[in-house]
C-alpha cells in the first residue's frame, strides 16, 4: 500500500537494498547491546499499545474505523465521524482476535470525538494517558489503527513517524468538525485510521487521529495527519461519559490583531458573561484559559479545548490596568442548531464525484483548475458494501441503549446521575428529614444569622435584613436576601436535593465535569430545574460531597453561587460548616455554621 515509488533508472537501488538487508541480517549480532535493547523496547511498547487499539465496524459490517480503549471496563475513544454511520450499536475487533459488542456513550460533534463502551469484559487492556501539552515537534510517535480496513483479523496496523506540529488549528470541515489545538504527524494516517490512537514513543496516548490534508494525490497519506490532542479530550470526557451531545464554547466576543500585533476585542455580546465580568470593546486579551494569547489563532486554539459552560481564567488589559477574571463560556452553537446538525449533516463531508478525464490524461491526473481549493479531509472509512444495513443490537446490548432527544445515549446519563447521587448519599441520608431545617451561626465578621428552611416558608435573619421567601411559587422573583443573588431559594434547592434525591427533585440530568475557580480537579455536575430556576450542583468526585451550587434565576444573568466547605459530622451525617455565598463579582458572605437543626 506504499504509494511512494521511485523513478525507473533506479532499478539498481532495489538490488542494493536487498544486499543491504542481507548485510543487516549479519549485522544484527554485532549491534551494540544498547541499540538492540532500545529496539526491543520499541517493539515491546508497540505490542503493548497495539493491544489497546480497536477496529470499529458498523454492526452490519459496513465501513468502520479505529478506536482505543481507555478504561478496563471498556470505555473507548473514537471519532464522531466514524461512529456516526454506525448509530448506537457497533462491533469492535481487538488484537486478541475477539469481536466485542459496543454501544455509543457520548459524542462531541464539533471536536469530532466519540466515546463508546465495549462490552463483555472488565479487564480490557487500557491505553496509558499521556500529556499532549508536553509533546514537542520532532518527538517520535506512532499511530495504531485499521487503515483501509485491513484488520480483517482485527490485528491493527502500526505506522511510525514524528510529531510535525503542535497546537495546530484546522478550521471546520463543513459545519462542524473543527480541529483546534491538534497534533500534526508524518506517521501515515490513512482512511480507516480515523478514531485510532496516536501514541508517544513510550506508548502513552497523546491524541486521536482523525483528519489529513489530502489533495491532488488522492485519499492517501501525504505526510500530514492530524490528531485531536488528548488533553482536549480529557476536558470533555466527563461530559461524554454522561451520554450527552456535547458542545464547544464561545467567549461571546470576537478578536482581531491590531497594527501592533496585539489581540484586541473587536465585538462583544452584552449578554455574555465576559461582558458582565468587565470585558469591553478595545480591550487587549493577554491570556485565556491559562495560556498566553499571542495571535488570533492561538486564541481560537485555546477556546476550542473547552466544553460549553466551563469557567476559565481570562486576563485582559485596558490602558495600563490588567484585569484577572473568571468567565463562563457559552455554547458555540445554539442548542437546537447543534441537534439539527447532528441529525442531518453527514459526518463526512460529501466527496464530489470524479470528473471525467480526457482519455489521454495520465492516471491520477493533474488538478483540475476548477476544483475547489484543498481542505483537510477526514480519512473516513472506505465504503464497503451497501450503506445503511446496520443490524439491531441483541437484547443484552439493547439494555444499555436508551434513546432520548438531545442525548447520544440517555442510559449513560442516568447511570452517572445515579453514581453521583449514590456517592453523595454515603455522606448522609436526609430522606426522612422532611421538617424545617435550621442553620445558625455567624458571618465571617461575627454578625449572627439564622436561616429556617421549611416546606412552606424560607426565613432568614441576617445582619442587614430579615427576609421571607415562599418556596411554592416562582423562585426567580424572590432572590433574597438582597446582594446574595438568592441565598434563601438556593438553600431551599440544596435541601430539596438532599432530601428528595435527583429522581424527585424535578427534571435533573448529569452534565459532566467542570472545574471550579481556585480548586484543583474536576467536579461532577447535576443540573436540575425546579420552580423555573436552573441549579447546577457540583460534587467532589473524591468524597462524593456537594462542593458548590450555582442557581440561575434566568438566562444571561449571574447565578447565586454557594461553596460548601468544612464538612463535619452532625449525628451520622456530614454537613458543611462554611458556606461562601457569591453573586457576580461580589462575595455576599462567608457563613460559619455553628448549629444545624434538621427536623424529621
Amino acid at each position: 500500500m506504499n504509494a511512494l515509488s521511485l523513478p525507473p533508472g533506479l532499478a539498481g537501488l532495489a538490488v542494493s537494498l536487498t544486499l543491504s538487508c542481507q548485510a543487516l541480517h549479519g549485522l544484527a549480532q554485532e549491534l551494540p547491546a544498547p541499540v538492540q535493547q532500545a529496539q526491543q523496547a520499541r517493539i515491546d511498547t508497540m505490542a503493548r499499545a497495539a493491544r489497546t487499539a480497536v477496529a470499529v465496524f458498523e454492526s452490519g459490517g459496513n465501513g468502520g474505523g479505529s478506536g482505543v480503549v481507555i478504561t478496563p471496563d471498556g470505555y473507548a475513544l473514537s471519532n464522531y465521524h466514524v461512529v456516526k454511520p454506525a448509530g448506537t450499536y457497533m462491533r469492535c475487533g481487538m488484537a486478541d482476535g475477539n469481536l466485542y459488542d459496543a454501544v455509543l456513550v457520548g459524542i462531541d460533534p464539533t471536536g469530532d470525538v466519540a466515546l463508546i463502551k465495549l462490552l463483555g469484559r472488565d479487564d480490557f487492556p487500557v491505553a496509558e494517558m499521556g500529556d499532549s501539552d508536553r509533546v514537542r515537534v520532532g518527538d517520535w510517535c506512532f499511530a495504531v489503527g485499521n487503515p483501509f480496513l485491513l484488520a480483517t483479523d482485527f490485528q491493527p496496523s502500526v505506522s511510525y513517524g514524528i510529531v510535525s506540529g503542535v497546537h495546530r488549528y484546522q478550521p471546520p470541515a463543513g459545519t462542524l468538525l473543527e480541529y483546534t489545538d491538534c497534533l500534526q504527524t508524518d506517521a501515515a494516517i490513512n482512511p480507516g485510521n480515523s478514531g485510532g490512537p496516536l501514541f508517544d514513543a513510550d506508548g502513552r496516548l497523546i491524541g486521536i487521529n482523525g483528519r489529513c490534508s489530502f489533495e491532488k494525490r488522492g485519499r492517501v497519506n501525504v505526510g500530514v495527519g492530524y490528531a485531536i490532542s488528548i488533553n482536549q479530550i480529557k476536558q470533555f470526557l466527563g461530559h461524554l461519559r454522561g451520554g450527552r451531545i456535547v458542545d464547544h464554547a464561545t467567549l461571546g466576543a470576537t478578536v482581531a490583531t491590531d497594527e501592533r500585533g496585539r489581540v484586541i476585542v473587536t465585538d462583544i455580546l452584552d449578554t455574555s458573561d465576559a461582558y458582565r465580568r468587565g470585558l469591553r470593546y478595545g480591550d487587549q486579551l493577554l491570556s485565556f484559559g491559562g495560556r498566553a494569547v499571542t495571535t488570533v489563532n492561538s486564541f481560537k486554539n485555546t477556546l476550542g479545548i473547552f466544553p460549553r459552560g466551563w469557567r476559565v481564567p481570562v486576563t485582559f488589559r485596558r490602558d495600563t490596568e490588567v484585569h484577572n477574571v473568571y468567565v463562563r463560556l457559552a455554547g458555540v452553537h445554539a442548542w437546537e442548531e447543534l441537534l439539527t446538525q447532528v441529525e442531518q449533516t453527514p459526518a463526512t463531508p460529501p466527496v464530489p464525484p470524479p470528473r471525467p478525464r480526457p482519455a489521454d490524461a495520465p492516471p491520477g491526473g493533474d488538478r483540475d483548475p476548477s476544483d475547489p481549493p484543498p481542505v483537510p479531509e477526514l480519512p473516513g472509512p472506505p465504503p464497503l458494501g451497501a450503506p445503511g444495513r446496520n443490524e439491531p443490537p441483541p437484547a443484552e446490548v439493547a439494555q444499555l441503549i436508551e434513546a432520548r432527544p438531545g442525548y447520544a445515549n440517555y442510559y449513560f446519563n442516568t447511570l452517572n446521575r445515579d453514581r453521583v447521587w449514590t456517592a453523595c448519599r454515603q455522606q448522609g441520608d436526609f430522606h426522612s428529614l422532611t421538617g424545617t431545617w435550621i442553620l445558625a451561626g455567624q458571618f465571617s465578621n461575627a454578625a449572627p444569622f439564622e436561616i429556617q428552611l421549611g416546606n412552606d416558608v424560607l426565613a432568614g435573619q441576617f445582619p442587614a435584613s430579615r427576609d421571607r421567601v415562599d418556596p411554592r411559587i416562582d423562585l426567580d422573583q424572590q432572590l433574597l436576601p438582597h446582594g446574595s443573588g438568592g441565598l434563601l431559594p438556593a438553600l431551599h434547592l440544596w435541601r430539596r436535593l438532599l432530601q428528595l434525591g435527583p429522581q424527585d427533585f424535578g427534571e435533573m440530568y448529569y452534565l459532566g465535569t467542570v472545574p471550579l475557580p481556585g480548586r484543583d480537579g474536576l467536579f461532577d455536575v447535576l443540573v436540575g430545574t425546579h420552580n423555573v430556576v436552573e441549579t447546577h450542583f457540583m460534587f467532589d468526585p473524591q468524597t462524593g460531597r456537594l462542593a458548590a451550587l450555582e442557581m440561575y434565576p434566568a438566562a444571561n444573568t449571574d447565578p447565586c453561587e454557594i461553596y460548601f466547605d468544612d464538612y463535619r459530622p452532625v449525628e451520622d451525617r456530614w454537613l458543611p460548616h462554611r458556606m461562601t455565598v457569591q453573586a457576580g463579582d461580589t462575595v455576599y458572605a462567608a457563613l460559619v455554621i455553628e448549629r444545624y437543626e434538621l427536623a424529621p
Binding site: 504509494a3 511512494l4 515509488s5 521511485l6 523513478p7 525507473p8 533508472g9 533506479l10 537501488l13 542494493s16 543491504s20 544498547p34 514537542r136 515537534v137 520532532g138 518527538d139 517520535w140 513517524g161 514524528i162 510529531v163 510535525s164 506540529g165 503542535v166 497546537h167 495546530r168 484546522q170 500534526q184 508524518d186 490534508s213 489533495e215 491532488k216 494525490r217 497519506n221 501525504v222 505526510g223 500530514v224 497594527e259 501592533r260 500585533g261 499571542t294 495571535t295 489563532n297 495520465p362 492516471p363 491520477g364 493533474d366 488538478r367 483540475d368 483548475p369 476548477s370 476544483d371 481549493p373 484543498p374 483537510p376
Partner: protein, 347 residues
C-alpha cells in the same frame, strides 16, 4: 517593512543553541547523547520563512516556503508564480515578524530565486556548512506545506531517508522540468502544496537541499518527493546574490555604446509588447538575419542576454542597448522544456 517584531530573545537563544549544537556535532559522531530531534528542529525553525504572494485562484496556492541564507535577510526559495507580482511578496519569520520582500534575482535553470528582507542579525543557514547526502542518510524536511502554519506558528517537520540520489526526470503538467540534474529522492511526502523552497537538512540540522516544486515523474506519473542538493545551487546562489545576472541597467557604471544592437537589426520580431512585463517570446524571424542564422525559432522564450536575466520585452530591448552592434550576442532561450544557448553574429 517591519510590521511586527516582538521577541528578539528567542532568536539569540536559538543562535547560541545552534552554535552549541554545531560544536557538539563536530566534536563527536551522533551517539545516544546527541541532541534529540526536537532540539535539532528547534534550531532549524527560526531559519524557515513562510512566503506569500500571487496565486489563490484555480488551485494555485498563494504561498510557499523559503530558507534564510544570510543574517541580513537573504531568503532562498523556489522560483514560481507565487513571486510573479514582485511588489506583493510577503515573508513571515517564525516569530511572526512580517516583512515585504524584494526579489533579488531568480535562476530559471534551477527554478530557484533569492528574496531580500530588510532585517539584520537573523538566524540563518551558512551555505559554507551545507552538507551532501548519500542514499540511506536520515533527513529532516521543514516547510510550510499546505500553509498550515501562520504568523508565529512553526513550520511543519517531516523525517525520512534519502532513498536515492538520481537525475530528475520530471514534468509539471504538460512541461518537463528544466532542471535535470541530481536530486535527493526522499521516502517521505515532502513535496506538497506550499512546501517548495523548504529546507532538507541532515540529522544535525545542517542544510543539504531545497525542497523542489510539485512534480510528477515523467515516465510513471507518480508524484516525486525530492530536494535539489545545495551543492547544485551554490554557484547560482552566489551569482544571484552578486547580481552578476542582473540586467545591465542595474549597474550605474555601465555605459551604452554609440551604436547598439536592436531586435530589429538582429532580425528578431518579438510578440506585441502589450503588458507591463510581456514575456519576451520570439514571434517571427526575418530571413537571412543573424537571429535566423543562429537557429532561433518562433515561440522561443528569451531568458538571458549575455547571461543577464531579461524577464520582459522592455528589459530585452534595454539590455541589447548596452551591447555594441559589432559584438556578438549570446542568447539563452527556452524552447519547450529545453534550454538552448545560441550566438548571434552581426553581419
Amino acid at each position: 517593512m517591519l510590521i511586527k517584531r516582538q521577541q528578539p530573545l528567542p532568536r539569540v537563544h536559538a543562535l547560541v543553541a545552534c552554535a552549541l549544537l554545531a560544536a557538539a556535532g563536530w566534536a563527536r559522531p551522533a551517539t545516544a547523547q546527541s541532541p534529540s530531534l526536537a532540539d535539532v528542529i528547534e534550531t532549524i525553525q527560526p531559519k524557515i520563512v513562510k512566503i506569500y504572494g500571487s496565486g489563490g485562484l484555480h488551485g494555485l496556492e498563494a504561498y510557499q516556503s523559503g530558507v534564510l541564507i544570510s543574517a541580513d535577510g537573504h531568503v532562498l526559495t523556489a522560483w514560481s508564480y507565487v513571486l510573479d507580482a514582485e511588489e506583493y511578496i510577503t515573508a513571515v519569520l517564525d516569530d511572526g515578524a512580517r516583512y515585504g520582500a524584494t526579489l533579488v534575482n531568480h535562476d530559471p535553470r534551477l527554478d530557484v530565486a533569492i528574496l531580500k528582507i530588510e532585517a539584520t542579525n537573523l538566524p540563518c543557514f551558512n551555505l559554507d556548512e551545507a552538507v551532501s547526502l548519500q542514499p540511506g542518510d536520515r533527513v529532516l524536511a521543514l516547510s510550510n506545506l499546505f500553509g498550515i502554519a501562520v504568523g508565529d506558528e512553526a513550520a511543519s517537520a517531516l523525517y525520512g531517508t534519502v532513498a536515492a540520489v538520481s537525475p530528475l526526470t520530471a514534468r509539471r503538467g504538460a512541461f518537463t522540468s528544466l532542471y535535470s540534474g541530481p536530486v535527493y529522492v526522499l521516502d517521505v511526502p515532502t513535496n506538497n502544496p506550499g512546501a517548495a523552497g523548504g529546507a532538507v537538512t541532515d540529522r544535525q540540522g545542517r542544510l543539504a537541499g531545497l525542497i523542489g516544486k510539485e512534480l510528477r515523474h515523467a515516465l510513471d506519473n507518480t508524484w516525486l518527493n525530492f530536494a535539489i542538493p545545495i551543492a547544485e545551487l551554490r554557484s547560482s546562489i552566489e551569482a544571484m546574490r552578486a547580481g552578476r545576472q542582473l540586467p545591465r541597467r542595474a549597474d550605474a557604471t555601465a555605459r551604452k555604446p554609440a551604436t547598439a544592437h536592436t531586435p530589429a537589426a538582429l532580425g528578431l520580431v518579438l510578440v506585441p509588447d502589450v503588458l507591463p512585463k510581456t514575456p519576451p517570446f520570439v514571434d517571427q524571424l526575418r530571413a537571412d538575419s543573424p537571429a535566423q542564422s543562429a537557429g532561433l525559432q518562433p515561440d522561443d522564450l528569451i531568458l538571458f542576454v549575455n547571461d543577464r536575466m531579461v524577464s520582459s520585452c522592455k528589459e530585452l530591448v534595454e539590455e541589447l542597448s548596452f551591447i555594441d552592434h559589432i559584438d556578438a550576442v549570446r542568447l539563452t532561450v527556452q524552447r519547450g522544456s529545453e534550454l538552448i544557448d545560441v550566438e548571434l553574429k552581426p553581419r
